[in-house]
């Protein structure tokens, strides 16, 4: 009648053991992830960002630790889709990162209370006229507080071409919409994508829209965001219509709305499945041998390490439209957490990354515009002279960027992203889309 008591005792023992183990583990794992003081050994700075990734960050960290032997940097790469989530919560916990990446716009605005004002640190590094030595620092400042420092300056408004592929198809890169249509017809015949777009990601769509809008009416986009122009006016509607035609004319690949920019579209482009991709100067490293070698590791031996990726300005999609403008600002900025226990070391790392010759020279090697304006691009690793010329041509455009690429208000950004997606998928008319964005801008005041 009674079951074997031994079995139940064993069961109970197992359960108690399990609970005990868990509690013990929790006690052990509660050890803080951060640091010891400088008195007892090297300080560890926890660094989180979606950019750079683990591979890209290695040269920076190695160089920094070499010149700062009592600071160690522990990097954690988090993909952007999880980054906002994770970091937001962590920063308020006291055991989050010491240094973290910030994107211009909504992110900077929202995270401002969680970051330390970097004005004293940067003034120490560069002197009181630091604002003239670093580019576009106000895009990372909120109400006079320098929330983050720019790492590099990038511009959108380019279209990247797989020159090797295009040359092999005996085609030339189109410079206006007529040429684009016939170009795409030929490319698709060769069973390749014409322009591969990650239309699932609002940001890439917004970049394209800005490129179009800057041709339809230069600068008006930014005026409208600031409330000084009407987003529902005819020019914006026209831009939406041009945007829609990229889908209905088959310029973008089928299923673009389901593809992400990174990794889907990006992978397809770099693996030679597409001729063109709309992207910005942040892809400049594609012209360097180092990056090409990295692609061989990521994509395998099928990747041709002699592929020439060439940046062009966005083709003219409006008759008489002005081409050659770039829009942008700091791509990534770095901030120091106001609850960090190693603020001094963290600030040292940030100012080294963003404002030291040593740190910025490493950036220059990737051919993205260093934030420290005294450091020029290092074009020594670029593959071909033609690419060198193209990169140099970006310089004046980067200096005279027509507006900030990131939208300040998260709701407006969402509204524009939704509108672009709805128009592209035929769910909303261009006129209605423009109105909906204007509504969001008005509501955000």
């Amino acid at each position: 009648m009674f079951s074997k008591p031994r079995k139940s005792r064993r069961l109970r023992a197992m359960v108690s053991a399990g609970v005990a183990i868990t509690l013990a583990l929790s006690a052990c794992s509660a050890a803080p992830a951060a640091t010891e003081t400088t008195a007892t050994g090297p300080t560890t700075v926890n660094f989180w960002s979606w950019n750079p990734d683990e591979g890209t960050s290695k040269p920076y960290i190695a160089a920094f630790e070499a010149s700062h032997p009592n600071i160690k940097v522990q990097m954690r790469f988090i993909q952007y889709s999880d980054y906002v989530n994770t970091t937001q919560l962590a920063l308020q916990s006291g055991s989050g990162p010491d240094v973290f990446g910030l994107q211009v716009g909504a992110l900077t605005n929202q995270f401002a209370p969680l970051a330390e004002d970097l004005t004293p640190a940067i003034s120490k590094q560069l002197g009181t006229d630091w604002k003239t030595k670093l580019t576009a620092t106000d895009q990372l400042a909120v109400d006079g507080k320098q929330v983050a420092l720019p790492w590099m300056i990038t511009g959108g408004g380019l279209i990247w071409a797989n020159q090797t592929l295009i040359d092999s198809l005996k085609l030339t890169v189109p410079t206006n919409s007529e040429e684009l249509k016939s170009f795409c017809a030929a490319v698709k015949q060769a069973k390749k994508y014409c322009i591969v777009q990650g239309a699932k990601d609002a940001w890439q769509n917004i970049d394209v829209y800005q490129s179009i809008m800057n041709q339809v009416s230069p600068g008006t986009f930014y005026k409208a965001l600031a409330g000084q122009a009407d987003f529902s006016s005819a020019e914006f509607v026209k831009a939406f219509e041009i945007w829609k035609s990229l889908f209905s004319d088959g310029i973008f690949q089928e299923g673009a709305l389901g593809a992400t920019a990174y990794p889907d579209a990006n992978d397809a482009f770099h693996k030679g499945e597409a001729a063109l991709m709309i992207n910005g100067t942040w892809q400049n490293a594609d012209t360097t041998n180092t990056r090409l070698a990295q692609y061989v590791t990521s994509y395998g031996d099928s990747f041709d390490k002699n592929t020439v990726f060439m940046p062009y300005f966005f083709p003219q999609v409006v008759t008489g439209g002005a081409t050659g403008t770039l829009f942008g600002g700091p791509d990534v900025g770095f901030a120091v957490s106001s609850s960090s226990k190693v603020k001094e070391a963290a600030e040292t790392f940030v100012t080294w990354l963003t404002a030291s010759e040593e740190g910025q020279k490493i950036m220059a090697k990737t051919d993205q515009q260093p934030a420290l304006s005294s450091v020029p691009l290092d074009l020594s690793d670029v593959k071909t002279p033609a690419q060198v010329k193209a990169l140099e041509a970006q310089g004046p455009a980067l200096k005279g960027m027509i507006g900030a690429r990131q939208i300040q208000n998260a709701d407006v950004q969402t509204a524009l992203g939704d509108a672009l997606s709805a128009v592209a998928s035929g769910q909303q008319s261009a006129a209605d889309a423009a109105v909906s964005v204007q509504k969001a801008i008005a509501a955000a005041k």
């Binding site: 937001q88 699932k200 389901g258 998928s425």
Partner: protein
């Protein structure tokens, strides 16, 4: 004996009272660990959300504004909220029905003379144990215009049915439903299989002797006897649809446009990506109320059914 008169009898009664109180106490003690966790986490979260829903807060600011019921009014006028609800409804109906039919069908077929039954059973249930994150990653690949699903359609001569599944607002929701069906049919199957094994064999043999064919036996004897399972699956399926998040977020992200937006993804986007934690909390409260209403309505309907 109507009145306790002796000391002994009074002590006995007192002891019974005492022991009843003690057993009440013991019962509560048994419940304590579970209740501590459930109240501490689940109930606390509900009340905390209710509190936050009266704020206009970005989750970071130490001094949020009080706005009372303003968030709820906003929800009522929010077209995205209503589209999300409609998506959940469509998704719920499709997945619950298909999962039940497929699960029952499989349970019936695999109850027959099958070689290698264990393999079949394992194959249909393995999707249930796979991580939603894994399934989402996999199906994002399969549903590409150049992906495996379209390849198969081409292979069986249905090339005209090829679509850009998750890029087309007409099909994206159904593509998601298909992924959900892939993952959860095994669960329905398992429950039906268990219930089928409980059906009295004599009933079935009697029906056969009376000349009823297989299909009629199923329709008129088997299916009615499975009612408890039907109801359980319907109830859990509807609530499950309301709670679905992973596959929507990871496969379509609510898009294209808002054509696959669910309440859960909308809450996530509002709270985390757009920093409207107060509004997100209000949406959570509304969703909880919806779940409660749906559950009450369903149990009411099913109880009425049973009383007939």
């Amino acid at each position: 004996m109507t009145q306790p008169s002796t000391v002994g009898q009074r002590t006995a009664i007192a002891r019974r009272e005492g022991s009843r109180r003690r057993s009440q106490l013991t019962a509560y003690l048994y419940l304590l660990p579970a209740l501590m966790i459930i109240i501490g986490i689940t109930y606390f979260s509900v009340f905390y959300n209710a509190w936050v829903s009266t704020l206009d807060w970005n989750g970071i600011d130490p001094n949020p504004d009080q706005v009372g019921g303003a968030n709820y009014l906003k929800i009522a006028r929010d077209p995205i909220f209503w589209t999300s609800v409609s998506h959940v409804a469509v998704f719920g109906v499709v997945t619950v029905i298909v999962q039940m039919v497929a699960g029952l069908g499989l349970a019936l077929v695999l109850g027959g003379p099958i070689v290698g039954r264990g393999v079949y059973k394992a194959l249909v249930f393995i999707p249930v144990v796979l991580a939603p994150a894994a399934i989402s990653t996999a199906f994002r690949q399969f549903l590409r215009p150049d992906g495996q699903v379209n390849d198969v359609l081409q292979g069986i001569g249905l090339a005209s049915m090829q679509q850009a599944w998750i890029a087309d607002p007409k099909f994206a929701l159904y593509a998601l439903a298909a992924v959900n069906i892939f993952q959860w049919t095994g669960f329905s199957f398992m429950l039906y299989q268990a219930a089928l094994s409980q059906i009295d064999q004599n009933h079935l043999e009697a029906a056969q002797l009376d000349g009823a064919g297989t299909w009629r036996t199923i329709r008129h004897i088997v299916i009615p006897q499975l009612r408890p399972t039907h109801l359980t699956l319907a109830l859990t399926g509807v609530i499950g649809s309301l709670k679905t998040f992973d596959i929507v977020f990871l496969i379509t992200g609510g898009g294209p446009g808002r054509s696959t937006e669910f309440l859960t993804t909308y809450i996530y986007k509002q709270s985390i990506m757009q920093f409207h934690v107060g509004y997100g909390a209000a949406l959570s409260v509304v969703m909880l109320l919806l779940a409660l209403i749906l559950t009450l309505v369903q149990t009411r309907i099913y109880k009425l059914d049973r009383e007939d």
